[in-house]
Amino acid sequence: MPGLNANAQAFEAAVAPWERQVYFTCLRIMGNRQDAEDCAQEAMLKAYQAFSGFRGESKVSTWLYTIAARCCMDALRRRREMVSLDNLREVGWEAESDEPSPYLQLEQAERRRLLGEAIARLPAEHRLVLTLCDLQGMSYEEAARALDCALGTVKSRLSRARAGLKQLLTADGELFHDNMRPMDEGRESK
């Protein structure tokens, strides 16, 4: 049946350019490759099933990230990582020290590695908004719709996520203290 094939081909053509970003969205939210791949795969299938209903109200990328984020949320719930944020420590905006962070002196590749680690240490809810807004460039409104929460929630989580990152990457942040330990491997090899 050629018509059916055309459907899958049209889908493939439309989403292929975003494939990597879908994967990395999942990777940043889930924090490890195994889960990221499962979620990204599930997201692609769900997107395929919903493709006939997609009318272009939003950008293809936004639509895909939304589906991916929801798959990740489901997976996080199954993993029971979506905990209440009430008992998490609050991170303020106030600067602690005047000395410039070593982060600024690093090469780009090294900065990205550290940043990736810092993101992985954020709580799941913060990772979700940060990934959608700051990594994938979705607007606050789009993120609120994608995560099915209030605009104010997105804003407050995002600012806490950013503050958390900054704190992790300042001179006396944790990452520069236990930097000797190869954290990435510990996380991945499970």
Partner: protein, 408 residues
């Protein structure tokens, strides 16, 4: 803007990254970044976030397996496609249909509400007809138990003609028409569950008839128990599974047996859950194939162990998803009927109501009606009270204002 503090900096950060600041704003922004190491760090983090995964590599397994999965899905969708096409076509004038549907809902809902407000106990006594025929005592309970414990019941027994004539009319009056007749297009994955309570005087015969009907329609008994308080009434509780196509035919047969005192039917649509599980199964299958390929290519022991580990995980997922699908299939394909057959002990004396009894009944009916009317009235008052109070306050205020104006 010449001087900027950290808070203003963070507010403008988004627009700076978009490139939508004015020249002045940008100069002040960059000047602040030059002075404040903290804000410089913030800016650097945001910039790095934007390009964080620009050079990252997408795993080949993901790249190939989602493509594989959607092509597999295509195959699965083959049967469903005509329906989706049908659904996509008709909305020529969807608004009109929505309007018609809405008014139907309004009219039907209104009627139902009115019906709800009728006294609830009306006519309850008419069901309490008693049987005047003497009880044709069958064989003893022990004898009966042997029949049940032993082999499947023999073929359907002939029922007494007058008995059938007496009760089939009543049965069809209470039991609703089989669902297949009034529901035109059923969604794909429906679990139908029916529970049916029957009352009979010919306990053994009817139970055998029921059992024979199960065999006739290709069903099976999942659970059965028969109990009795000695010398009086016997009960049989059966849980039966009937192929879904045969359900209506079986129910029609079953309702010929005895008198129907209760009939409930429920339908659960599991299409979505089913599709969801099928999707996850397809994706796990694709992953499994990919892993098998990877395993062939793997060289080091570490890689092999790693992949085998993942294969074990994936296999577990595959098994549990397949099991879930099978479970749903079985529930969809075989409808569940919970049947209870209760023996009826005929009352000794015919109860032709005397005039006095009828008056008494009518009076108690009327009393119940009044009671339930009063209850409804109290409920209505309780609901309306807040509105009435609010209205009263508004009226008082308006009157107060008018008075003051007049006084002026």
């Amino acid at each position: 803007m010449t001087h900027m503090n950290c808070e203003q900096f963070s507010i403008l950060l988004d627009r700076y990254l978009e490139g939508s600041l004015s020249a002045d704003e940008r100069a002040a922004f960059e000047a602040h970044a030059g002075q404040c190491a903290d804000c410089r760090l913030l800016l650097q983090i945001r910039r790095d976030c934007q390009g964080l995964d620009d050079d990252g590599e997408v795993p080949a397994s993901f790249s190939s397996s989602w493509r594989q999965a959607i092509h597999q899905q295509e195959g699965m969708n083959m049967e469903q496609i005509p329906e989706t096409k049908k659904r996509a076509k008709p909305p020529i004038n969807i608004r009109r249909w929505v309007a018609i549907a809405a008014s139907l809902v309004l009219v039907l809902g209104g009627t139902w509400l009115v019906g709800q407000n009728q006294p609830r106990h009306r006519g309850a006594t008419s069901e309490q007809t008693a049987y005047s025929d003497p009880y044709a005592g069958g064989t003893g309970l022990d004898n009966y138990m042997r029949t049940i414990d032993g082999q499947p019941a023999p073929a359907a027994m002939k029922m007494e003609a007058d008995y059938a004539a007496n009760y089939s009319a009543e049965a069809s009056a209470i039991a609703p028409a089989p669902a297949a007749q009034n529901a035109p297009a059923q969604p794909q994955k429906m679990i139908r569950t029916v529970s049916l309570n029957l009352v009979t005087r010919e306990f053994e015969q009817d139970l055998e008839t029921l059992n024979a009907a199960i065999a006739k329609h290709g069903g099976y008994v999942e659970y059965s128990d028969v109990s009795a308080d000695r010398g009086s009434r016997r009960y049989a509780n059966l849980t039966i599974r009937i192929p879904k196509e045969q359900l209506d035919a079986y129910l029609a047969d079953a309702q010929q047996v005895g008198r129907v005192t209760a009939y409930t039917e429920s339908q659960e649509d599991v299409s979505e859950r089913y599709a969801d599980t099928a999707t996850r199964l397809a994706s796990q299958k694709a992953k499994m194939e990919r892993l098998q390929q990877l395993l062939k290519q793997a060289i080091t022991v570490k890689d092999i162990l790693e992949i085998e580990n993942q294969i074990a995980d994936t296999q577990y997922q595959l098994d549990s998803l397949t099991g879930a699908l099978r479970g749903m299939d079985s529930k969809v394909d075989y409808s569940t009927v919970r049947l209870s057959l209760q023996e009826e002990v005929p009352t000794a004396s015919p109860t032709e109501l005397t005039l006095g009894q009828r008056i008494g009944l009518a009076m108690s009916d009327a009393w119940e009606a009044i009671q339930s009317f009063l209850e409804d009235l109290v409920v209505l008052l309780a609901v309306a009270l807040p509105y009435v109070l609010a209205l009263a306050v508004v009226i008082l205020i308006v009157r107060f204002i008018i008075k003051r104006r007049k006084n002026k």
